[in-house]
C-alpha cells in the first residue's frame, strides 16, 4: 500500500530503510525553520525552505498539558517567544518521528533550548515524568491478562 504523505509527511527510520520514495526531502539532521504557528505547549507548525508545505513538529522531550487541561498558559508563552521567529530543530536520529507521524525535535531559539525553558518555568514536564501526580488506573494495572 502506498504511503499517505499528506497525512504522514515524515517517514520513520524503518520506512526510510525500505526505500520508500518521498516526494520531498526527509529530515534526518538539524535544520533551521520559521515557526508559523504554535499549536499547543508542545507542538508547533513550521516552514522549511526545502518543502512547499508547512508541517508540525513536536518537542522531543517534554509534555505540556492539553488545551483542555489548562495548557493555554504554555501555548501563550511559546507564542510570545517563538511564533514568527526562526528556530533551530535539533534532530535525534534515533527518535525522529513520533505518534501521529509528527517530526520530533529539540527546538532551539536564540541558543536556548525551549523544552528546557518550558520545564524550568513549570509549563511542561519531561516526557518521562508526564504521568507524575496522576492517579494510576488500578483496573488496568492489576488486570490478570498481563500475567498470562
Amino acid at each position: 500500500m502506498a504511503h499517505d504523505f499528506v497525512k504522514f509527511p515524515e517517514l520513520t527510520n524503518s520506512q526510510l530503510q525500505e526505500h520508500i520514495v518521498s516526494p520531498f526531502p526527509q529530515i534526518t539532521e538539524d535544520i533551521r525553520v520559521e515557526v508559523i504557528k504554535v499549536i499547543d505547549g508542545d507542538t508547533i507548525k513550521v516552514r522549511w525552505d526545502m518543502r512547499d508545505f508547512d508541517f508540525p513538529v513536536r518537542f522531543l522531550d517534554i509534555n505540556a498539558p492539553e488545551m483542555s487541561e489548562g495548557g493555554g498558559e504554555a501555548r501563550d508563552y511559546l507564542k510570545g517567544v517563538i511564533e514568527g521567529e526562526e528556530v533551530e530543530l535539533q534532530i535525534d536520529p534515533n527518535q525522529r518521528v513520533g505518534k501521529y507521524g509528527r517530526l520530533l525535535a529539540k527546538i532551539i531559539s536564540l541558543g536556548m533550548d525551549m523544552g528546557e525553558t518550558m520545564m524550568r518555568l513549570g509549563l511542561a514536564k519531561s516526557f518521562e515524568n508526564r504521568n507524575e501526580g496522576q492517579i494510576p488506573d488500578l483496573n488496568k494495572e492489576t488486570r490478570i491478562e498481563q500475567w498470562l
Partner: protein
C-alpha cells in the same frame, strides 16, 4: 571605580559570587569589563532594551529580576576568574550551577512578552 552597570552593580555581582570570591575578578575594575556585555546579551536575547527602560525608570518591585539575571551571569565570570580561591572546587562549581540556573530562569521569564509589558507598566 566606575561601576558602569546599568541595572547591575558590582555589589550585586559580588553577593552572588560567594564569600570566597577571588579578589581580582570581583573587583569593580574587573566586573566593569563584562557587565555591559552581559546586559547587552540580556537585552538582545529578550529583544527588549531593558537598559533604556531601567534608566527611564522601572518600578523596583519588579525590576529586580533584571538585576537577578545579569548579576548571576556576571557572577559566573567572577567565579571562573580563579576557582582556586574557593575552599573546594565543588564550592565553586555549586555556585556556578546555582547562578546559571537562576540566570536562565530569569531570562526565560523576561522573554515572555506579557511579562515585559507587566514590568513596564508596574
Amino acid at each position: 571605580m566606575a561601576d558602569v552597570g546599568i541595572y547591575t552593580k558590582s555589589a550585586d555581582i559580588q553577593a552572588r559570587a560567594g564569600e570566597n570570591a577571588p579578589a581580582v575578578s570581583k573587583a569593580v575594575a574587573a566586573t566593569d569589563v563584562y557587565v555591559l556585555n552581559v546586559e547587552s546579551l540580556i537585552n538582545s536575547l529578550t529583544r527588549f532594551n531593558w537598559s533604556d527602560a531601567f534608566t527611564a525608570g522601572l518600578n523596583a518591585d519588579v525590576g529586580g529580576i533584571l538585576t537577578e539575571a545579569s548579576a548571576c551571569l556576571c557572577a559566573i565570570y567572577v567565579i571562573m576568574g580563579d576557582m582556586n580561591a574557593y575552599t573546594t572546587r565543588i564550592e565553586a562549581e555549586d555556585l556556578i550551577n546555582v547562578n546559571r540556573d537562576k540566570a536562565l530562569f530569569a531570562i526565560s521569564i523576561l522573554r515572555d512578552k506579557k511579562v515585559q509589558k507587566f514590568i513596564q507598566e508596574a
